[in-house]
């Protein structure tokens, strides 16, 4: 084959491909997917796979909340995430010992719930005199004039995180306040019903109507939102300001949203959107790699078997049958479960080992026809070796077929990888769609209605699959005219 022929052939192929609308759609999808995968570190969080399993990293995110745009479709509007840094806070040095930090938070009209929680962190404390530790008190001033004491005189250290909604002491304080306002009596810490404050959402009542005479359980179960401007007040007492330094430069106050980002969060507060974008990398790499490798192996195997013929052919076909008759998914699960450390490479190898048989069979039947042609006889008569005939004369004839096979077997490989990850057998250092779905299944996301956690990863798998099916069928029509159907 001369270079000019190849160029001509390629041009002809391109012209034909341009006529295939589905093929063009597939190519556009593929370009978008590749761009998304390549730019993942820049469009989302860099080095996400390292952070994905570290639950501490996601501490400042709300847990199990839908995406922000969900508000457009629901009458019960839910607040988004809001973060305040030093510049957005009002810090007043009351006197030498006391500092007051104030945060204004607005709960607009029509919003059904206040934030999921409030988190204050990154106050730097240098302790030189351990007996005069600075303390912090936290209050919430509500639009109806009532003030809720959330935390009183807690010892302050650099590692301290005030977490309204996650800290049981604070939840107890809220309960005590609720009883105080509604029933007018003071209760102690020990009278707080533990199950109630541990199981129910104790933040919603903070941002709800609380009037004397109301029932505490009613407020907790069915809070009526109270819109307006809230003020979170942090009062820090430092008895020895000269020895113990408190620095507010890094302070971060987060009002956890009831909605978050583009795709919501999962049970650890992980940003599902970032996971989705990063997941495309694994899906594309594994899908393409497995498809290419198993097609190449299958083609060479099938052609060799057909060419050698006789006993060698019989033997090779028996091996093929053995691989085909071992139930692959169970064995993959077994190997994965017993192998211990699983890397993406290992998964690729496993999927290739159990994925080349069908292609080998078809390649063999095609090669059997090619083998009978006269030019092969001629090459043999001229003394060409087996390897040369297989690689130079038979395989190139199967190449057009190979391209469509590669494209069409990508979806299978993508689904196989996702299935393994879904079963918890995947590379733990990677973020994949299967793993996101695994976590969703483990946390019973479907039975709790967390749709934003279940739908997008599967759609991702489907889009990758569809992309390659579209390209594959288009290639099939052009490159294998014998199989052309309308």
């Amino acid at each position: 084959m001369r270079w000019v022929d190849i160029k001509e052939g390629f041009k002809e192929f391109l012209d034909e491909f341009k006529k295939e609308k589905t093929g063009i759609a597939g190519v556009i999808l593929l370009i978008i997917l590749v761009l998304v995968a390549l730019t993942a570190p820049y469009t989302t969080i860099p080095n996400l796979p390292e952070k994905w399993r570290n639950s501490q990293y996601w501490e400042d995110n709300p847990k199990n909340v839908p995406p922000t745009w969900y508000n457009m479709f629901t009458s019960k509007k839910l607040v988004p995430q809001e973060i305040y840094y030093k510049d957005e806070l009002k810090i007043t040095q009351l006197n030498k010992n006391t500092t007051i930090i104030e945060v204004d938070y607005v709960l607009p009209e029509n919003y059904y719930f206040g934030p999921q929680g409030i988190i204050v962190k990154n106050i730097n404390v240098t302790l030189n005199s351990p007996y005069e530790v600075p303390t912090i008190s936290v209050y919430l001033e509500r639009p109806d004039g009532k003030t809720v004491p959330l935390l009183i005189n807690k010892q302050l250290s650099s590692s301290l995180t005030v977490a309204v909604g996650r800290d049981s002491t604070i939840s107890s304080n809220i309960y005590i306040w609720l009883v105080n306002v509604t029933e007018g009596r003071e209760i102690t810490m020990f009278e707080v019903p533990l199950e109630t404050i541990l199981i129910s959402d104790m933040v919603a009542p903070l941002f709800a109507k609380v009037e004397p005479g109301m029932n505490v359980d009613d407020i907790i179960e069915n809070p009526q939102p109270l819109p307006g401007t809230y003020k979170l007040i942090l009062k820090i007492d430092n008895p020895a300001p000269d020895e113990n330094k408190v620095i507010y430069d890094d302070i971060k106050v987060t009002f956890l949203g009831r909605t978050y980002g583009t795709m919501g969060t999962d049970y650890l507060g992980r940003d599902i959107w970032a996971g989705l974008i990063w997941g495309s990398r694994v899906s594309l790499t594994i899908g393409i790699l497995v498809a290419v490798l198993s097609t190449i192996i299958g083609l060479i195997y099938g052609v060799t078997s057909a060419y050698l013929g006789g006993n060698a052919d019989e033997f090779m076909m028996r091996i093929n049958e053995i691989f085909a008759s071992i139930p692959s998914l169970p064995i993959l699960i077994l190997i994965g479960a017993t192998a211990g450390h699983i890397t993406l490479w290992f998964i690729v190898v496993l999927l290739v080992i159990f994925g080349w048989m069908g292609i080998a069979r078809i390649a063999r039947s095609m090669a059997l026809q090619i083998k009978e042609q006269t030019y092969i006889e001629a090459a043999k008569a001229l003394g060409a070796g087996n390897g040369r005939i297989i690689f130079k004369h038979i395989l190139p004839q199967l190449l057009p077929y190979a391209f469509s096979v590669i494209a069409l077997s990508v979806p299978g490989a993508v689904i196989a990888e996702a299935s393994l990850s879904f079963l918890g057998i995947g590379d733990p250092t990677a973020v994949t769609w299967g793993q996101i779905l695994n976590a969703a299944q483990a946390q019973a996301a479907t039975t709790k209605g967390y749709w934003w956690w279940v739908i997008p990863p599967g759609l991702g798998i489907a889009v990758v699959g569809l992309t390659f099916v579209l390209i594959g069928t288009a290639l099939d029509k052009i490159l294998n005219p014998r199989l052309r159907r309308l």
Partner: protein
Amino acid sequence: MGYLKYLAFRIVNAIIVLLIVTFIISALFVKVAEESNKSKMYEELMLWERSEGAKIKQSQGLEAFEQAKAAKQASLEEKYELNVPYWQKVYNKAVRTLKLDFGTTSMPIFGTNNVSDIIKVAVPRSILLFTTATIIVIILGIFLGVRAARHAGSVFDRALSIFALVTYSLPMWWTGMMFLLIFAYKLGWFPLSSMFDPQLTGWAHIKDVIWRLVLPVFTYVFVVFGGWAWTTRNIMIGTLQEDFIMAARAKGIPEHKIIYGHALRAAAPPIVTMIIFALLGSLGGAIISELVFNYPGMGRLYWVALQQNETNLLIGLTYFFTVLYLASVVLADMIYGFLDPRVKVGASARM
């Protein structure tokens, strides 16, 4: 070469493959079992050392303790079959498996320890779910595929093709999760778990089973029938272009008779092969789909066996799957050869 000889060749071939696969499976699983048995043995030995061993050490001295420990270890090794060489064990296991003697599980599943009995409970359930679904898929797929082939290029044909391509790219278990989300969680039409209620009997039990089956069956049909219809359509379009169809049309035979009498009959061999593989494959269940729906069939059983490290059950199930696959290969070959006389000439001419 005669049909019977061809058939005999295919069966002998399948049996040889089965023997080798059984051996490979045994080798794999015995290895897994060996490791877990080893750790179990050391655990037991440690326990003994701390209780009885300590007593012997105190009363009879260190030497007696070492002796007693060696004896204990030997007896434990025998108990866990660690004194038998690896290949001997593989051979034993393979032979027992071939004789359908799968042994017992360490924990009862479905109220029994016998592996054969456990499989006997699970198989009908998978048949109930997947075979029902497969039959619906076959009927729907062939009917719609033929229709699309008759009106190739029409809106219906295009819509069906797109639907087939989309569903081909969907993982079935994810679709199951979606349907659970929509029909079970949001609309509440169906139960969230397909595990049967063991308290019910008689008519109430049947109603319960049907109600729990609807969603998994619907999921399976939804994901699979598009592909069937598409393949049928492609085969039919190829057949409809052949000369004998033209001849039939020229003779003035009614169109539906041409389609169902002539074309579909000529296109039957590949379709029949597909049907056999689909029907036999349906006995095996689908691991992840059954997990998602919490359905107590073969697939979920396999998962439970893996989780609880029940090697005997795993071997039994894997063997069952392999036999099923090979049986469908032979059956498909048999019917293919029966329907299309060209095949047996092609496949066995070089024998």
